[in-house]
């Protein structure tokens, strides 16, 4: 993180680090890949799991950089890690709400940010210790949540999705890292499809404000 001057780029970088670790943690918890393929690592002074397969790591890194690009543009409202069953039906979504991030134009990406309190003191933009602590708590909650959720059926897979704010351009230019999908309306077949939301944690450290929750789709057959 920046020592004195925090820029939007730094904030986004901090978030993407967190996102990477979160994805690895979710993969471990939900046993998308065999748990033996995960290595113990440390992040934010906390024991986390990291996948060892190079392709998995590569995919995650690519996905996270694509998210980063969109974040720098300031168009992202939420980031979702979606778990699909074999039949391509979303079973769970791990949502990260990033709509509260500061936005800046392209020119201002590297401009130091400053926020002053009521009496003119500088408030820290990105208090590292505070932020790490909160990230740690979020990861800890994420890790434990695995036990509250229903076990996933065999052969589930995952992907990363972003929900955009209303404004801005959808990233469908070439090369196209993202695939546009239609927002799936909740199917009201069979009465009410219940979607359960489990809050995980909210992080508020300086300008890094995000919320995390888990949405569980209806009881699948």
């Amino acid at each position: 993180m920046a020592s004195e001057a925090t820029t939007l780029r730094n904030i986004v970088a901090a978030f993407t680090d967190f996102l990477t670790v979160a994805i690895h943690t979710i993969l471990y918890e939900r046993a998308i890949y065999p748990q033996t393929s995960f290595l113990s690592a440390r992040k934010y002074n906390f024991a986390v799991r990291q996948n060892r397969h190079p392709k998995v790591c590569g995919w995650i890194n690519d996905a996270v950089s694509a998210v980063e690009m969109e974040l720098l543009k300031g168009t992202v409202e939420r980031v979702a890690i979606v778990i699909f069953t074999k039949d391509n039906k979303p079973a769970e979504r791990f949502m990260l709400d990033v709509s509260r991030f500061p936005t800046a134009t392209l020119a201002d990406l590297d401009t130091p940010l400053e926020r002053k309190s009521a009496n003119g003191d500088n408030i820290s933009i990105l208090p590292k210790v505070d932020m790490e602590e909160q990230f740690r708590a979020t990861l800890s909650r994420l890790a434990n949540c695995g036990s509250t959720l229903r076990p996933l059926p065999e052969g589930s897979t995952f992907t990363v999705a972003i929900e955009l704010k209303g404004v801005g351009q959808a990233p469908i230019a070439h090369p196209q890292p993202w695939m546009p999908v239609e927002p799936t309306k909740q199917d009201d077949i069979d009465g009410r499809v219940q979607k359960r939301a489990v809050p995980v944690r909210a992080v508020a450290a300086g300008e890094m404000m995000l919320e995390c929750w888990i949405e569980e789709a209806a009881v699948s057959d």
Binding site: F46, A47, N144, S147
Partner: protein, 460 residues
């Protein structure tokens, strides 16, 4: 108390879904760890009686395992079910009361195992043990523990939250294992604020609150003197008394004071950039505590012969007398100063014998110095015939070995005569700002046409 723990556990385990280990419970409720383990067990039993499966436990089993096939015991990643952490360790768990059986010289080596087991695997794990010496609940959590690693977070939190508790005090309450022979390392003084103290003018230091410092007994009396002549005698007596003095023996406070005085001379010299001239009067009458004031007598006692020289040198050097410090400087302050002092150490130097000769000179110079109540802070530079003569203060480094076996390099300020036929030498280091500027300016004026090497010094 009974209410508290149930409430505490209900809040943390059930509502907040945190992982509570017996250690965090003991720290939070300030109880002995064995009591905490019982609390965990009770809570677990009650909650599961009310609602089965609401609280999950992780157990810790200590004992001797049956012979296992090697395949089971390799590496972290080979955990098939990912829950058991097999830790083969010979010392038993601290809380377990069983002694370690030392069976040597026999073919099968007895291996005492400590195993962390989730409750669902408890029965199975028990069967793998030939004999169990201890079993207790390690932690409770609301839902099953997916990743045993998350237990590490409990300990980290304890280290952070309860860092302020002194383990030497708290161990009785919590029941941590304590080595009776352990003692806190005595902190050595950091650089004292600038105030000169000559060996003759020994500063009486305040006694630190902890009295259990060894001192060098008899020579303390001699330390009270303010004259240089005492130096050698004190040194001699110090040397003599060193062998008999032991560590950590309570001594009359006078001795510690005297010792500290001496120490302060040494430690005074730790201060960098001290330029105060040597004060003559004695500060022996002044209860001054320098940051070096604490100098534990152990450090004194431990000084080798080099220390004697160091002491003299330190005395000779300009050491500052410091304002009175509050009594009972805490250990932490001393430790902090120790750190500060350690940070200042420079490279290790050769032993004291070469220094000894220097001492003589220093002593000689010292006497005239001590005549003047107040030496000018700057060097006295007398310009005669284009030559600069005078006394200047330079930093000399001396390495001494303290009783803990540490080599401590001290920078001491010593007066040194110099005379030059040319404009003053470039390497004047620890000068006060004024004289630095002066000499720097002088340097710049001199020899503009000099070769490159002088321009190197000119930067100083």
């Amino acid at each position: 108390m009974a209410q508290d723990y149930a409430e505490y556990l209900a809040i943390n385990v059930l509502n907040e879904q945190q992982l509570i280990s017996y250690r965090s419970l003991s720290r939070a409720l300030k109880v002995h760890v064995n009591l905490a383990k019982q609390m965990l067990y009770e809570f677990h039993r009650k909650q599961n009686a009310k609602k089965p499966g609401s609280v999950h436990a992780t157990y810790l089993i200590t004992g001797i395992r049956r012979e296992q096939t090697p395949a089971q015991t390799n590496g972290v990643h080979s955990q098939k079910d990912g829950e058991d952490t097999v830790m083969q360790s010979s010392p038993p768990l601290p809380e377990s009361s069983a002694p370690v059986p030392e069976e040597s010289a026999e073919e099968p080596v007895v291996v005492r195992s400590v195993l962390l087991v989730k409750e669902e695997h408890l029965a199975q794990a028990k069967t793998t043990f030939e004999s169990i010496t201890g079993i207790h609940i390690y932690s409770l959590q609301a839902n099953g523990l997916n990743d045993v690693q998350s237990l590490t977070e409990c300990n980290r939190k304890i280290a952070v939250d309860y860092a302020s508790e002194d383990p030497l005090v708290a161990w009785k309450q919590y029941g941590t294992i304590q080595n009776p022979n352990v003692k806190r390392r005595t902190a050595r003084k950091g650089p004292p604020p600038a105030a000169p103290v000559t060996k003759p003018a020994e500063v009486k230091l305040k006694q630190p609150a902890p009295a259990a410092k060894s001192t060098v007994p008899e020579k303390q009396a001699s330390k009270d003197s303010n004259t240089n002549s005492q130096d050698s005698t004190t040194a001699a007596s110090k040397r003599a008394s060193k062998p008999p003095s032991a560590k950590a023996t309570p001594e009359p406070t006078k001795k510690p004071a005297a010792v500290k005085r001496q120490d302060s001379n040494i430690f005074m010299s730790f201060a960098k950039g001290k330029t105060k001239p040597q004060k003559e009067e004695s500060q022996s009458s002044v209860e001054a505590a320098t940051p070096a004031a604490e100098p534990e007598d152990e450090t004194m006692a431990g000084f080798s012969d080099e220390e004697d020289d160091a002491a003299e040198e330190g005395a000779v050097a300009d050491v500052g007398e410091v304002a009175n410090e509050p009594e009972g400087k805490s250990k932490r302050q001393r430790e902090a100063e120790l750190e500060a002092m350690m940070d200042q150490e420079d490279e290790v130097m050769e032993d004291a014998s070469p220094e000894k000769s220097a001492d003589g000179d220093e002593g000689a110079i010292d006497k005239p110095n001590s005549q003047h109540p107040q030496q000018p802070a700057k060097d006295t530079i007398i310009v005669e015939n284009g030559r600069r003569r005078g006394r200047r203060r330079v930093m000399k480094k001396k390495t001494v070995k303290d009783e803990d076996g540490y080599l401590v390099t001290k920078e001491e300020q010593a007066w040194e005569s110099f005379s030059e036929e040319e404009p003053p030498p470039k390497k004047i280091k620890a000068q006060p700002a004024a004289s630095t500027n002066k000499s720097a300016a002088a340097k710049k004026d001199g020899k503009p046409g000099q070769g490159n090497i002088m321009s190197f010094f000119g930067k100083k």
